[in-house]
Amino acid sequence: MPQPLREPTFLILTALAGGPLHGYGLIAEVDRLSDGRVSLRPGTLYGALDRLTDDGHVTADREEIVDGRLRRYYRLTPDGETALRTETERMRRHVQAASARLHGLGTTAMTGAVPA
């Protein structure tokens, strides 16, 4: 059974699902996706990218020089897409279960019924 992805890893894969991104672009996208809660620094980001590359989830796409600075773009591989889908499905099931329980809790609170 695959291990659940850690939050920064999940957010990096989610960011790349929108298309190839370079390091700074990824940092900005992860920040936006997490509403500023997960703020990656380049040293941490590249460590995570190396690991995702080793696992075959991410690969280098292309390079360009902008204002004299090297930008290397990364993209999701088919394995990375599968890992993201699997994790999303796992999280969806948890959200569904929690929502159902909370819905039951709301109904109980309104009717005063005791759940079986």
Binding site: H22, G23, G47, R69
Partner: protein, 337 residues
């Protein structure tokens, strides 16, 4: 500030990365930092920390030892739990000591300055439960600072009052545990967050309802006989740490997750430090310890020698063995290929 001035400063901070990695990825890393820099004039402390830790992680990756970084949060929680148990043990056995203390510094209801270290450790354990991550690391850092201050002040005289602290055979293992406990992760689950508190409470209950002999410890001066109550307490903590690490290795290993095995590897050196008294009777650690004259210090040296040996040898061994084991398991799982 222009790239010409800021880029060299960031390039210097890449020193922790392996040379080959610097050549391949250095420009890209520095480029990302420059894009984030805005009008900053020099790298921040957080940038330096990020790049140094990134470099160390990269060196572990090059050596096939990334598992060490993965196992560290588990090892940190277990080390914190072992230290919490010891803190409660010493606070409830030695620290309420009623030995004559005329001319010696008492700290509230406690007999020695060592009590401050144990209280700090328990505060760090509470912090781990309610605020994991940076606040816990800060609390553990404070505990380490307290331990160092107590070490410096021990056996000194302050304004005509003698200060009693902790012996080296207790200070060194506590320091080893605290250094590992510094790696507390922010995203620990409830089990790892509560483990130190559970360990402390279990020890308190065990002392209150358990073996009455152990509660009659007058002082810290039980050196250097492994069967004395205090060395026995350290040995019990070592055994608990070893069993907890082994349980994590087995439980996670059954799911194909090797973090537990790496955590166990990280915990062996502090286990050696806790078993210093016993190692002092074992060659070659006895000979290494005997290089210093004080009994208390030579016990600590014996433990530190064993800890240093295992800290270097075990990760190297595991990094070589795991690929072989994984290959064998893959062959077993899929005999056709």
């Amino acid at each position: 500030m222009s790239d010409e001035q800021l880029a060299p400063a960031y390039r210097k901070l890449l020193f922790a990365y392996p040379e080959r990695y610097r050549a391949e990825r250095g420009a890209e890393l520095v480029g990302a930092y420059l894009e984030m820099a805005g009008d900053r004039r020099r790298p921040r402390l957080a940038d330096a920390t990020d790049l140094i830790l990134g470099g160390l992680r990269q060196r572990l990756r090059s050596a096939g030892m990334m598992g060490l970084a993965d196992g560290l949060p588990i090892a940190a929680a277990l080390a914190m739990a072992a230290g919490s148990a010891l803190a409660v043990f010493f606070l409830l056995t030695v620290e309420p000591g009623t030995v004559s203390t005329v001319g010696w510094l008492r700290v509230g209801p406690f007999a020695t300055l060592g009590s401050v270290v144990f209280v700090a450790w328990l505060l760090a354990a509470i912090t781990a439960a309610v605020a994991p991550g940076a606040p816990t690391r800060f609390a553990v850092g404070g505990t380490i600072g307290t331990l160092l201050v107590v070490t410096v002040l021990s056996k000194k005289s302050l304004a005509m009052i003698q200060v009693d602290g902790l012996p080296a055979y207790i200070i060194v293992p506590l320091l080893g545990l605290a250094l590992i406990a510094l790696a507390q992760a922010r995203d620990n689950g409830w089990l790892l967050r509560l483990l130190p508190l559970v360990s402390a409470i279990t020890t308190a209950v065990w002392l209150k309802v358990g073996d009455a002999d152990i509660t009659r410890v007058a002082r810290y001066e039980s050196c250097c006989e492994p069967s004395e109550p205090l060395p026995m307490a350290l040995s019990t903590a070592a055994l608990g740490l070893l069993l907890a690490g082994a349980a994590a290795a087995v439980a996670l290993g059954r799911r194909g997750d090797q973090r537990g095995l790496w955590a166990l590897t990280i915990l062996i050196p502090p286990v050696m430090l806790l078993e210093s008294m016993w190692l002092d009777n074992l060659e070659p650690f006895r000979s290494l310890g005997s290089l210093v004259s004080s009994n208390d210090i030579n016990v600590a040296v014996a433990g530190m020698s064993a800890a240093a040996l295992t800290a270097v040898a075990l990760p190297l061994l595991l990094a070589r063995l795991l690929p072989l084991l994984n290959r064998r398991r893959d062959t077993f799982d899929d005999p056709v290929s």
